[in-house]
Subunit: 210 residues, 2 copies
Amino acid sequence: MPPADEPRREQLLNAADRVVQREGPGASMNAIAAEAGITKPILYRHFGDRNGLIRALTERHTSGLLAAVRAALSEPLERRDRVEHVLDTYLAGIEARPQVYRLLTHPEPGDPSGVGNALAPALRQIAGEITRAVESQVDLGADRELLAEAWGRGITGMVLAAGDWWLESRPCSRTRMVQALADLLWGRLAAAADLPTAVLPAPAAEAPPV
Amino acid sequence: MPPADEPRREQLLNAADRVVQREGPGASMNAIAAEAGITKPILYRHFGDRNGLIRALTERHTSGLLAAVRAALSEPLERRDRVEHVLDTYLAGIEARPQVYRLLTHPEPGDPSGVGNALAPALRQIAGEITRAVESQVDLGADRELLAEAWGRGITGMVLAAGDWWLESRPCSRTRMVQALADLLWGRLAAAADLPTAVLPAPAAEAPPV
DNA sequence: GACAGGTGTTACCGGGGGTAACATCGCGGG
DNA sequence: CCCGCGATGTTACCCCCGGTAACACCTGTC
């Protein structure tokens, strides 16, 4: 890919950025073109199709978040502190620009069938970083490849969903949220005591299980 | 909701189901109408708009998965076994009908801006079940409300992302996947030993952190 | 027979992504 | 000098999608 010798492209991306900032992803090509003071065909000449534009736009922002997460992952800290640092980095990132965050995290709805895109490309990269970090830093025995990969995806999805909820309803401070998630990864759910069993019978399920 | 005294509705939903099964979500109203042997306006009379149709369709399938998960959550087992049971139930569910699963898990792209839909409605219900189960079964002290809610979302997102990956690339058996995820929740990441530090310097990050 | 309600149709609207064809500028080389 | 060439821009169009208006039909009931 050409380094930066296409200033026009940058201009157009800036316009697209403004529109997305304002209207969220799903902004129409017409709107973006208008913001740039031009008409659609030019956009298509530069980016091929809508996906091309969106991809270019996300790659711009992804680099920042990805670099930040990667740096946090290789910080020379105790493991718990490092994990907290990574979590905090991610949450800070999505807190700063929610609209951009939405663009990064929400898988483009357009693609035809086929499973495997619960995680948008940007998040898949983050999952990959986590996987590599776990694999290279933690002793997991024979299963390490499988575990690292599954955990990379799992942790990413966990932080995505929890972060989304946090951003939406702001139930607590960022640091407290980081603690809550780190606690989950630290097995606090497993370690906590049982509550005195006051089992109330579940409402009758009316459909047979899948 | 009317019990079942609208057989026509059921018919239409069956047709819609077939189309979604075949083409994935994003199937057009025209396609669904054609499959049912009719034309669009009838669909709109019955379901209002596309969202209505999709919602009716998802609710059908959701009830099964949701009931199964709920049942698994209140199974009288040791905690670890119960968690594994829940994980297995979910994975078995998505394994059975991937297209339907996609419909359930992918948030409808249509809605205008606003964060908070990393989890589709069906998954939000599951998250709610987990939250309630944790809150009523586990002793988490003063923070229990916050932790239960955050964990409900987090665990759901984790299983979503990991399950998606598993379904896509089938890296291992279902039971092994269940083990991997349960291990993560049990703090195995935290407990494992460090690997001998062979730190290779990360490739220079070129963009400033977010 | 008139009315009501469900079933069905054709034809249209607005707007989305995407493209073809044409117009215009600036600029380097015969 | 002017020709061509490449980038920039335009208008006008295509197809498909979600959604709706208007009209036609059949069937049972009072």
